[in-house]
């Protein structure tokens, strides 16, 4: 089964980290991905630019409308994600709980829906 692990945090709150801290954090993130590759769980992982950089689009009566900013203006925003292969939800939770961002952020572990073709 595949699980999307969505990292939510308050991107504004964190003071810009000193470069040494930032480097350490990045290295921990890379090491986490490497560990997932080694154990065969890794599918994909990306960090996202701040939510203010987002554009949200909708279609109203056939017309495209675009707003500046994220889909929902909430305090906690999606900051990154990783997609994993796991045996079940508990294994996915166990893997996600080790992500270095867990020091500050929350991770939503969402099962990927396998679409049924009908044949």
């Amino acid at each position: 089964m595949k699980y999307a692990c969505l990292i939510y945090g308050d991107g504004n709150l964190v003071e810009p980290l000193p470069p040494s801290e930032m480097e350490k954090l990045t290295a921990e993130g890379v090491a986490f991905d490497e560990e997932l590759r080694r154990t065969g769980h890794f599918i994909d992982a990306q960090a996202l630019a701040p939510a203010q950089a987002a554009a949200t689009i909708r279609r109203h009566d056939g017309n495209l409308s675009m707003t500046d900013g994220p889909f929902a203006e909430t305090k906690e925003q999606l900051g990154g994600f990783f997609l994993i292969e796991a045996r079940d939800l508990n294994e996915a939770v166990r893997i996600a709980s080790r992500h270095p961002c867990m020091q500050w952020d929350a991770i939503e572990v969402r099962p990927v829906r396998e679409l049924y073709s009908g044949s």
Binding site: M1, T39, R87, D88, L89, N90, V93, R94, R98, M102, Q103, P111, Y116, G118
Partner: protein, 414 residues
């Protein structure tokens, strides 16, 4: 050392190694990780160096070493270093005499069904850790959300880690208090085999066989009437295995099954076990269900089946086990006894209470009752609902075929 040979060692040793690591570490997560790491190490080393003379103790000591290592690494993020103190306890060792439970799988099940946990946590944890079911399969078995089951398992593990008592196997005299949890693990394991919730095939015969094997071992250690009842129940079902699935893997309902394919020898054996369970005088849940299964297995056709007695037994079962699923099964029997309208009224009232709304069999049962009443539109809607809820390919094909039949029949109506 080929991958196949390693796979065989995994199958033979992983339960034993895991049970030992859980006891040593007092922590499921650590033990699971350690097991995983030990086998990764084996896959790397054994092909070059050859397998060790004693793979089991190699795996246990490698796993333990990996766990110590992981704890040291993780200690940075861990506010409490309490777990490190466990290390001190690890020197006392491996060879506790556990031979009164003569089987690795069963030993792990008895270990997991620890009375420090509430019964529902014991069952969920054991089904996952000892029987290998996934969170999602367990959720199907208990008609619960996977996230709720996941949380139950996470909390159970935390409770074990924080428990001050040792997570140990029971002594022989303590076995009976764990029996209830163990029985409640074996039956869902069988059911997942008999009516798989996911994937391509309707049945996973290996799980059914394993559940029956485990129950046989349990009655040898603890000749409890309810376990006889449980074993009889599973054997009555198992005896009908061959008639449940058609040549192309399709589901065949009880009414349409070719009863000449039923295994009469197994049914007779199940009957003997059931009689033995009934001698105890007080009928438990599994014995009662076995008595119902016996009435099906021992009648020559659906018409000759004593549906009234089945309804009465469901009344008894409902008193022992007042669950919506029992009420649903009773409704199906009522529909056979008093007609589909009577059954349908019960099913609709169960759903109106908010029970089983997401349970595929409730909608499939409703659909069938509407179909028999000639209420095609309602039948179709209910089949659609069931189809939307099932994640099992053979069931999908079955439900799609019923929908197609309805459409075909409704075209004939002028």
């Amino acid at each position: 050392m080929t991958p196949i040979a390693l796979e065989a060692i995994y199958r033979a040793e992983s339960r034993h190694v895991l049970a030992t690591l859980i006891r040593l570490l007092g922590d499921f997560e650590l033990a699971e990780d350690a097991l995983h790491e030990a086998f990764l190490a084996a896959a790397e080393q054994w092909p070059h160096e050859g397998p060790p003379r004693n793979p089991r103790s190699w795996l246990i000591s490698t796993g333990r070493f990996q766990a110590i290592d992981a704890m040291r690494r993780r200690a940075r993020y861990d506010a409490s270093l309490r777990r490190l103190t466990h290390e001190l306890k690890w020197t006392e060792e491996l060879s506790v005499d556990l031979n009164y439970i003569p089987d690795d799988d069963l030993r792990l099940i008895f270990l997991c069904c620890h009375p420090v946990l509430p019964l529902d946590s014991q069952i969920a944890l054991t089904l996952r850790e000892a029987c290998g079911l996934t969170t999602e399969e367990i959720a199907q078995a208990f008609v619960a959300k996977a996230s709720a089951i996941a949380q139950r398992i996470v909390r159970a593990k935390a409770k074990i880690r924080d428990a001050t008592i040792a997570y140990e196997l029971p002594s022989r005299s303590e076995l009976p208090e764990r029996l209830r949890g163990v029985s409640h693990v074996i039956y869902p394991l069988f059911n997942e085999g008999y009516e798989s919730s996911f994937g391509p095939s309707l049945m996973r015969v290996d799980l059914c066989g394993e559940a029956i094997r485990l129950a046989r071992l349990v009655v040898e250690i603890l000749p409890d009437p309810e376990v006889y009842g449980l074993l009889a129940l599973m054997m009555f079902h198992h005896a009908r295995c061959n008639s449940r699935v058609g040549p192309s893997g399709e589901l065949i309902l009880l009414e349409q099954q070719d009863r000449s394919l039923w295994d009469r020898t197994e049914i007779a054996r199940a009957r003997a076990l059931l009689n033995r369970a009934l001698l105890a005088g007080q009928m438990g849940r599994y014995t009662c269900e076995a008595a119902i299964a016996a009435l099906h297995a021992e009648s020559r056709s659906p018409q000759e089946t004593d549906w009234l007695r089945i309804v009465h037994l469901y009344d008894v079962l409902l008193r022992i086990e007042p669950s919506p699923i029992v009420a649903l099964n009773r409704a199906v029997a009522v529909a056979m006894c008093d007609g589909p309208a009577a059954g349908l009224a019960i099913v609709e009232s169960i759903l109106a209470r908010g029970d089983l709304v997401e349970y595929r069999f409730a909608h499939a049962a409703r659909a069938d009752m509407y179909r028999r009443l000639g209420r095609v539109n309602e039948a179709r809607a209910a089949y659609d609902r069931a189809l939307g809820l099932t994640q099992q390919d053979a069931e999908r094909r079955f439900l799609a075929a019923r929908i197609a039949e309805l459409e075909f029949a409704s075209r004939d109506v002028p």
